[in-house]
């Protein structure tokens, strides 16, 4: 058979067709896990938001890439009423929803889509509220949107007015979050008519930079660039998420050229990555804090002097080296330095075991023994809580305080650590949802959050502090808010309900030919601006 036989030609033509995607620019992201689904509203995991909210959808407003500042997205502009109760959004015109093989949009994005997006989460009687069995809207409820939003009105096709029950400055940051990604009402109607409502979660239609193509469970997610994107069109043609749960295997894939970028490298691999000439490592302080929360309602931890003394007994720099392998910075405030209103004038309680010992004696504390709780899971803000607890144990021993380390299964840990009268101090942390200081301070340290179901594990209720937070929430003047939060941080440091341990660094290893990737302080992975050079 001649090598130029028609059959061979046909076969090679087929091969060229099959290989066609290779000629297109394909960007492969080795993601760390599977999305729970593609409807961003019912889920809470960052992994899900990367795969759905950020790739496929947009919101009314968005975080400016690389920052936590708000900028226009599907809303071109907005006005806030004098009393801070009414937000009127002017919607962008000419924005197209994606199409797939079962749906082609007949109209552009408009106010009906915004109302559909919010109403189905807000209203339990909405026909789409329970379109999946056992669905709940955790973010909508935990961000207290249900209590905050009084009504949503369509003024005209391109204008929507939100009326709030009380003024709330973080509202704009909240509506930039993935759980209120704007869905297509028309798509929902089409699915309803076809009797395939679950496709809202399986085959998402959005306005975002990438069009969803296919998902093979636990293996691969495929997207194509949205050629009609209202913003700057993506530079890559195809985006692929190769789901790779193990960090060492992700790195091997990156090294072997099977993917271009990966999240969450193992701290032990960082030196290896830096040494590899084919890779580069992007780093940025994370929007997080790791802390040790005392129970401020139980003696002797109800005495701020005792808490401060214990904080001074702790060698935090040594902990950064041993627990975070150097990839973190010592925390002095409850919010990270990249967040606006961070008060750099606050001074940390310096490491001084001698002074600490004396302060404990002055406070009449002798022969103290306490529990330190070590969380059983790794988090970016706390990669090894057991090791951290052991170091605290050794440090406290030097000032005569005996520590017993305890741990529980993660769910139990979260529950028991919020039980009233809890023994000892708890290691935990927080990663910001939306870049607003209120999302740290109110969630973790306000009087309201000290109630059951809150997240204030110090049970610390300082009226003055909480009052500052409430005032900051009620005003929309950024300068005034900054000043109020700065004062709140001074009170926090003075009262020391926590030992602030560390703000960890986020690392993103990528192939050397990747350009345009912008790290998000919120830990989101978005790819509309990435490109591959030859």
């Amino acid at each position: 058979m001649s090598i130029f036989s028609p059959r061979m030609l046909a076969a090679s033509a087929l091969a060229v067709m099959a290989a066609a995607p290779l000629h297109a620019k394909t960007f492969v992201y080795c993601s760390e896990g599977s999305p729970e689904g593609f409807d961003p509203a019912p889920y809470t995991a960052g992994t899900t938001f990367d795969a759905s909210g950020h790739a496929v959808y947009n919101r009314l407003v968005q975080f400016k890439p690389g920052t936590t500042e708000i900028e226009p997205a599907l809303a071109e502009s907005w006005e806030v009423s004098e009393d801070g109760l009414e937000y009127t959004f002017k919607l962008r015109q000419g924005v197209k929803f994606h199409a797939n093989d079962k749906f082609t949009p007949s109209r552009d994005f408009n106010a009906d889509d915004v109302i559909f997006t919010f109403e189905r989460q807000a209203n339990a009687d909405h026909p789409w509220n329970q379109y999946l069995a056992g669905i709940t809207y955790e973010y909508y409820s935990s961000m207290e949107m249900d209590k905050l939003i009084k009504s949503i009105e369509k003024i005209d096709d391109n204008t929507v007015k939100f009326t709030l029950n009380q003024p709330e400055a973080p509202f704009l940051a909240n509506v930039a979050m993935p759980f209120v990604s704007i869905l297509s009402k028309e798509y929902a109607d089409t699915l309803e008519a076809a009797g395939t409502r679950e496709d809202l979660n399986n085959a998402p239609i959005g306005t975002g930079p990438f069009r969803f193509v296919a998902y093979q469970k636990d293996a691969v997610i495929r997207y194509q660039k949205n050629a009609d994107y209202w913003g700057e069109a993506p530079k890559i043609d195809d985006l692929v998420f190769a789901i790779t749960p193990d960090a060492s295997v992700r790195l091997q894939k990156l090294k072997a050229g099977e993917c271009h970028l990966m999240p969450y490298p193992a701290p032990a691999d960082l030196d290896d990555i830096r040494a590899d000439p084919n890779l580069k490592l992007d780093e940025q302080p994370g929007l997080n804090v790791g802390y040790l929360a005392y129970n401020t309602t139980v003696a002797p931890f109800d005495n701020p002097q005792v808490r401060k003394a214990l904080n001074m007994a702790m060698d935090k720099q040594a902990m950064i080296e041993a627990v975070y392998q150097g990839s973190a910075e010592v925390a002095k405030n409850p919010i990270p330095p990249t967040m606006w209103s961070y008060n750099d004038a606050v001074e940390d309680d310096a490491y001084d075991p001698e002074a600490a010992k004396k302060m404990l004696e002055d406070a009449g504390v002798t022969d103290l023994s306490m529990e330190v709780w070590a969380m059983p899971v790794q988090r970016p803000y706390m990669p090894n809580a057991r090791r951290a607890a052991e170091m605290i144990q050794a440090d406290f021993d030097k000032v005569g305080v005996k520590v017993k380390i305890v741990s529980y299964e993660w769910g139990e840990y979260l529950k028991k650590s919020m039980e009233e009268g809890r023994e000892g101090a708890v290691i935990l942390g927080w990663t910001g949802d939306n870049g607003d200081p209120d999302n740290f301070l109110s969630v973790l340290l306000s009087c309201a959050s000290a109630a059951p179901g809150g997240a204030n594990r110090a049970f610390w209720c300082n009226e003055e502090f909480s009052d500052l937070l409430a005032r900051a929430k009620a005003t929309s003047d950024p300068a005034e808010r900054t000043s109020l939060y700065e004062q709140a941080q001074v009170i926090f440091k003075d009262q020391a309900p926590w030992a602030t341990l560390a703000h960890s660094t986020q690392y993103v290893p990528m192939a050397r030919n990747v350009t345009g990737f912008v790290q998000s302080p919120l830990g989101d992975y978005t790819f509309e601006s990435v490109d591959l050079t030859e």
Binding site: S12, L14, A15, A18, A19, P21, L22, T26, V28, S34, E36, G37, P42, T44, L132, A133, G134, I135, T136, E138, S141, S142, E198, N201, N202, A214, Q216, K217, D218, A219, V220, R222, A242, I243, T244, P245, D246, S248, V249, Q252, K253, K255, A256, E258, Y408, E409, W410, G411, E412, L414, K415, M418, L428, W430, V443, A451, P452, G453, G454, A455
Partner: protein
Amino acid sequence: MIRFILSKLLYLVPTLLGITLVAFGFIRLLPGDPVLLMAGERGVSPERYAQIAAQLGYDKPVWQQYLGYLGDLLQGDLGNSLVTKRPVLDEFLALFPATVELGLVAILIAAFVGVPVGVIAAIKRGSWFDQISMTGALIGFSMPIFWWGLLLIILFSGILGWTPVSGRISLMYYFPPVTGFMLIDSLLSGQDGAFASAVSHLILPSIVLDTIPLAVIARQTRSAMLEVMGEDYVRTARAKGLPPARVIGVHALRNAMIPVITTIGLQIGVLMAGAILTETIFSWPGIGKWMIDSISRRDYPVVQSGLLLIAGIVMIVNLIVDLTYGLINPRIRHQ
């Protein structure tokens, strides 16, 4: 024969019922619960907790939940995942072919390599081949799978660049699944090189997964062969001057295979356990990893129905193994 199969199938019913009870109880006995895990560091207010629990039906007494679950099962409803909200059966069917494909390849390699190795080791007892292969088997049997998998990846994919790191096929190939078996689907797709890519992706995970079964089968074959070769009928066969190949291949091996087949059947269960680690290392989208994720998230419906499905399948495989005895050993057939 039919009565034999029916009686075996009848045994499955109480066993499966027992499994529903164990699976249902086991996941609830573990501390922690799905609602708390979903809420994470933020926490969940008691009112909200009660609301979600009521919505999921977890506010009822456990025995009522169990009866409700059994009722749903009888109607063919395996429930929905708490995490993805999708039907458990859909998820299982999407992932199961990947596990079967890997498991089949692994068990075939284990059998087709393990049996000859065991036979040769038995015939050449005490030789260097025997020494090396049995030492190898001992090492294989004690191998920590996770470490072993990573080691192979670093060596063959990282340093030598011979095999892909993970996944089922190169990402440049894309075709919708037809059978779910990548080897078959890649052929059906007609795309050049797809099948070769699927094969190359199977090499490392199947080696890792069959490490333990291969070792067990080789050792079992060796000891069964040694036992049989001392039997009178083998000595008789030799004495009447049959060629050695016939003595070993027909008279010895066929009798030695009975315990070996049992062992191979039992390895199916071992493979399921090995699949959990192998699938995690090689990002293999199968049911092993699915189970582990679901247990750690306390996804009750997935764990209880997933375990039931897996147990059911393992039992059916064992039933098939039981039936193949009859083919090899007429004594069992007649009983």
